[in-house]
Symmetry: C2
């Protein structure tokens, strides 16, 4: 594994295995679920890695725990900081609580109360700022400067990527005969870790990224070889409205077969299918891989596919099929 300071450093299989040992007491080894009924709809044999059942309700607990537990004692005591108002913020708060160190989570002042509460319940401090990228970054830098806290980036960090890769490690261990693995792609931390782990353990298995057509920056970046920007966009899978970093793009270009996209309607249909058939509460981003499988049936017909269901944190008062 290259030095963490290197902007292109990526974890290898050994680093992902080390992460697995490091976080073992702090995260669940989540089950792999299947549904004959959904298999019938997809025309494939799907093995859902249930990260919505992970601590904090998302795979993010893996990367956050690995990063926090990797800090040396001197760093750790000064705490950690991040600027994600979503699942990474809660995961970092959880990881810091488990290590008994302080955590700060910078959030835009318009962040929903439920998201703030979700971070505070693990004892982290919420620092509100204006709802701009610049304000967010400067608030983060301020906490780092004032408190000496270490910034834990949501995805552009080899320790985080190694942690996220442990989900695929378990999946490939638990379902040895897979033909393909598909994971959602926002900033690319999960997809990078998934691809590195899967290809190292089972080179025969093809890895796919999944994203909303409305936020197809990863598919475009994959094609062009550059980190492509994303125009302001609205997708129900709001967790995936993030562009790659050069680091995650490098991992994805090296190990991923294709990034496939899906419509908003397919995301809602897949999410509802997971609720109705599998009885699982999955957030829109977590349903994106299934949505892609349903929209690209012929490509995956008859295959055994591992599907990373990334999270289950969804507002139950505003489910997307709710009749007005």
């Amino acid at each position: 594994m290259a030095a963490a300071g290197d902007a292109l450093a990526l974890p290898d299989l050994a680093a992902i295995r080390a992460a697995q040992r490091r976080i073992a007491g702090f995260v669940h080894r989540t089950p792999v679920l299947s549904s004959a009924s959904i298999d019938g709809e997809a025309g494939a044999l799907l093995h859902f890695k249930a990260e919505h059942l992970q601590k904090t309700g998302a795979f993010k607990a893996r990367g956050a725990c690995n990063a926090v537990l990797s800090l040396d004692a001197g760093e750790a005591v000064r705490g950690v900081v991040t600027h994600s108002s979503g699942n990474h913020g809660a995961a970092l708060a959880y990881a810091a609580a488990k290590r008994g160190i302080p955590a700060w989570v910078v959030m835009p002042e318009n962040a929903p109360a439920v998201k703030q509460a979700n971070v505070r319940r693990f004892g982290a401090t919420v620092r509100l700022c204006a709802a701009t990228v610049a304000a967010r970054e400067s608030a983060c830098a301020e906490v780092a400067r004032e408190c000496g806290a270490t910034l834990i980036h949501p995805f552009d960090d080899p320790r985080v990527i190694a942690g996220q890769g442990t989900a695929a490690l378990e999946l490939v261990e638990d379902v040895p005969e897979l033909d393909a693995v598909i994971a959602p792609c926002g900033g690319g931390g999960l997809l990078s870790g998934t691809a590195i782990a899967t290809r190292a353990l089972a080179p025969r298995v093809r890895v796919f990224g999944a994203e909303p057509a409305r936020a197809d920056d990863a598919a475009r970046s994959f094609a062009s070889g550059r980190v492509e920007a994303l125009a302001p966009t609205v997708t129900i899978a709001d967790g995936l409205r993030t562009t790659l970093s050069p680091r995650t793009l490098a991992a994805i270009r090296a190990h991923v077969e294709a990034v496939v996209t899906c419509s908003e309607e397919a995301i809602v249909a897949a999410m509802r299918m997971l609720f109705e058939r599998a009885k699982q509460v999955v957030e829109p981003s977590g349903a994106v891989p299934l949505a892609c499988l349903l929209e690209h049936r012929s490509r995956f017909a008859g295959l055994r596919v591992g599907v990373i269901v990334s999270g289950g944190n969804v507002g139950l008062d505003s489910l997307p099929w709710r009749v007005a």
Copy 2:
């Protein structure tokens, strides 16, 4: 085991074990789930037997499969009939399809299209009748007479009770240190089977029934020793608006410690808790045991409790917390 024709005949542990072997290829051995967060709310250690993940979305597949697979060849070929428009109807349709025999399900003509479709997708024939008990029973008798189909009652049948008891059998095998088991109670088939299996396998474990306060006929019957009637009532747990039979009352009086009740508000809160914290889609009846545990915290404080989550078939367009 007494003759099935005996109105008070009940299965014993041997019959439940035989049911388990008989249905093994046709139903899931469902997982046992837990949630540290829900344990914190309940002040107890809860082990959820996940029958919402069962084939057809409810424990009913167990009893229906056991009854259908218990028929001799001559009976089987003429098919089966029942008059449940809910989970038992779909379960019987499923069981009949698995054995390759015809099934008729009598439903009131006002039964929702989704319930009719749920039965038809397993290949059963829906026979509509007027929405009265008399019409339902005479339609059933007519099918039995015309086709020679065997009536499979939703709960007042030792073969059905034996099948339902296999859920508790698995639960007690999988979680050996339980203090108590709690199951919802409608007609009492699940609770009877649960109580017989649990007490025979683990006499130290106390068994509780759970029902809505608005449909507390089982609690009253348990107290009086007679099958008490239920006035027309509205409860969100519509699957539990059924009175006991002398058979199920006898089993419950012999083996159950108490039947506890809960408010409608507690049912909605428990259901939402299962969605939000455990990420599990559970129908109101399936949330009633947790609702009872939450309303009777002191009674169960610190105990290890097995909780039978009976089903997950809930209309996603009309979730009870949906804001108007």
